[in-house]
Symmetry: C5
């Protein structure tokens, strides 16, 4: 999993039918100290997350397991909303 900040959402009318009804959010991956890290990704929300919230997300074939469509073509999903991150140091490049 990675930490991320929700910064937006995507509207896509024409899409794979397994994605109909899915909420697609734009995530900026972050470090524990909230430094942005790497490119944004688009993930399916499964926990009722909203803009500005810090979340944890998964990528790859396990992502669809978090959704009502475990066989959907989904490679990223938000799986938790972060209350706090307690960190001795926030990691490096």
């Amino acid at each position: 999993m990675q930490l991320g900040l929700i910064i937006g959402h995507v509207v896509a009318t024409r899409k794979d039918e397994a994605l109909v009804g899915a909420k697609l959010l734009v995530i900026q991956p972050i470090q524990p100290d909230h430094t942005p890290m790497g490119p944004t990704i688009v993930a399916v929300d499964t926990v009722g997350a909203g803009i500005g919230e810090t979340i944890i997300f998964v990528v790859g074939s396990v992502a669809s397991r978090a959704t009502p469509h475990p066989e959907a073509p989904i490679d990223a999903a938000i799986v938790g909303i972060v209350d706090s991150v307690d960190c001795a140091k926030s990691g490096g490049s």
Copy 2:
């Protein structure tokens, strides 16, 4: 998923038989503000996308689920055409 811009297509006569008939498009991954991000990839189109359109695509083993050949050797697929991306900020390094 990632956002991408369709910038071309690939013609390959000799290929895995599960790929016969598949439309292979060249995608430039982009950030929400349309900044190019990272190397191009080649993805199977499943939503009728065309050159110049902004799309969302998936990578990895889930990609083939979007196609008529879920057991094909496909690791990238276009799963939606983007109408709009609403973003507070467009992400980082």
Copy 3:
């Protein structure tokens, strides 16, 4: 697998139900000489690891196999606590 140093933990009350009870630790990937390498990740602990310990972790769909929930949306897991790394040279670039 990769080597990592445990540097913190994540508290997330609202999360996928398959993650309830999972201990979520923040890992800084490291080289054999303990140089930090790349962004931090969040992994499920399955071996009783603690802050400051050097561990090995796996990523991707195999990670959930290390947990009591092999079908959970988990993409990173700690699978061992490192006693020692014997290395001729510690790797590069």
Copy 4:
């Protein structure tokens, strides 16, 4: 999928028995304008590709599907020989 240029081959007598008979080629990933992009990889050839040819390859668990051994430990396979790439622009950073 990614575009690549075949630049060599690997000889390995001692190997996993599911790889016996597999042709292992060295690929330099490239952009549509043939700029090299990222480290080389070693892939199993399934389409009769040769040195100097431009190909498309897949990575990850789907790669073995292109081979006669779908349960083999193979994470990269050549799945097509490229005739042409028609591109508006050849991609970015």
Copy 5:
């Protein structure tokens, strides 16, 4: 698959029970000209490789297929010992 040089081994007494007995080696990924490329990884040896040998390894969910424990949480495995790499050029950035 990628080319790598074996540079060390990892001792981990406390680990996932599916890893008991597994030989865990430290690999420096290399280019065909033996230039180091990217961070080291830890892989399960399945072919009797030793320090200083050039090998090919796989990553991801297919890695465990090379081991006696196809359902183990293993994401990297050595699958061949390289006799020679014949390369027109050794690849790029």
